[in-house]
Assembly symmetry: C2
Homo-oligomer: 200 residues x 2
DNA sequence: TTGCAAATATGCAGTCGCTGCAATAATATT
DNA sequence: AATATTATTGCAGCGACTGCATATTTGCAA
């Protein structure tokens, strides 16, 4: 991405670590696709990646972190928050959220993130986590909106906006998941927000 | 396939089973409160309930089913669906949902359900499940609304209504959880919907 | 009352995700 | 080259959960 003031040459250690991390993530994801998430044992992933089972846990705290890796590894919430803080004060909060999402999304959308998304919905416990993520996103959005429109009496409205916006986002992801031919997520997001706005 | 649809005198077997089920649920909940959910081992619950660890799993498929027991054990979604189907056709869908919830809630609110609710939010994995439940509720509500207002062009609006209604419900539960002095959940629901409606 | 089938309880061994600990090997720093 | 850091690994162990085989209890009928 960007080079720090001191473009410190990456040591062998760091490089190997990064490579191993990615290797695990790639092999893991492929195995999840081929055999299913629950049927894929951690030991098997580790073995296929050429490391011991114990070492796996030095790279990922849990099995599902392999999937989180492809979803941006938790950086998404932070990115959305940042985008909302940075974005110009739009007259309508809903638009602000939409634009923030549209701005951030491309950075978190890869070939594999689409594959990973399907797996999230393949297993009950994963589904639950994913949905919990949306709630987190909602809280993040709400908090960001409150910063930008600090008048306390508008909070209930902002709360609603956050709910609606994240809801639209959820519907967009759902729509893409159900499409055979997948278009970029941003398109679904645009459509989803358009439908929502038509209702207001 | 059965003979009498009326209260067939409950056999010893059924009675004992019901008693054991409840005993496990009560002791389990109390232990969760006292020692924390994760710190409470299944073996400990089973021992305290006077059964073997293996037998526990004949009553509850998972540890968290102990908590689900106090939340109505999955019957809530069904009850809401039924209430929405039965309820008079209100002009406003949002009101219909609110009234449906208000009608059903008392049947699922007990002393222990409030306690259980606090535990749901004490642990990450439980929180995720709880939030997944709200999404399920949203889908249930949406489906029920679609039955009642079948015009296809109104669906986006109904989707929104479902989102808003469940959102208000979520906020109500949250509000109660944060209140020291707990009032009946229905009051929080009324308030929450009132705030929402004031925004529309 | 007895006999038998169905339901229930239990022990045991095992899987899987995950953790702590301690020893060892690889890399970085001086 | 010596030393400090960090990575890798094996091992032992925990806790939720399952399958299987066995014993016990209960329901029902001859």
């Amino acid at each position: 991405m960007e080079n720090a003031p001191i473009a410190k040459a990456e040591g062998l250690r760091e490089r190997k670590r990064r490579e191993t991390l990615r290797r695990i993530a790639e092999i893991g994801l492929r195995m999840f696709v081929e055999r299913g998430y629950e049927a894929t044992t951690l030991e098997a992933v580790a073995a296929a990646a050429g490391i011991s089972a114990r070492t796996f846990f030095h790279y990922f705290k849990t099995k599902d972190e392999i999937l989180q890796f492809w979803q941006g590894g938790g950086g998404f919430l932070e990115a959305v928050r940042a985008a909302l803080r940075r974005g110009s004060t739009r007259p309508r909060a809903l638009r602000a959220v939409r634009d923030g999402l549209l701005e951030v999304l491309p950075r978190f959308t890869t070939e594999n993130s689409v594959v990973a998304d399907r797996i999230w919905y393949s297993t009950e416990s994963l589904r639950a986590q994913k949905q919990a993520f949306f709630i987190e996103l909602e809280q993040t959005v709400f908090a960001a909106l409150c910063e930008r429109w600090p008048r306390k009496d508008r909070r209930p409205g902002l709360r609603m906006t956050a709910m609606l916006a994240v809801g639209a986002f959820r519907l967009a992801i759902e729509a893409r998941r159900h499409d055979r031919r997948t278009r970029p997520l941003t398109e679904y997001v645009r459509e989803s927000f358009a439908v929502l706005e038509a209702q207001l």
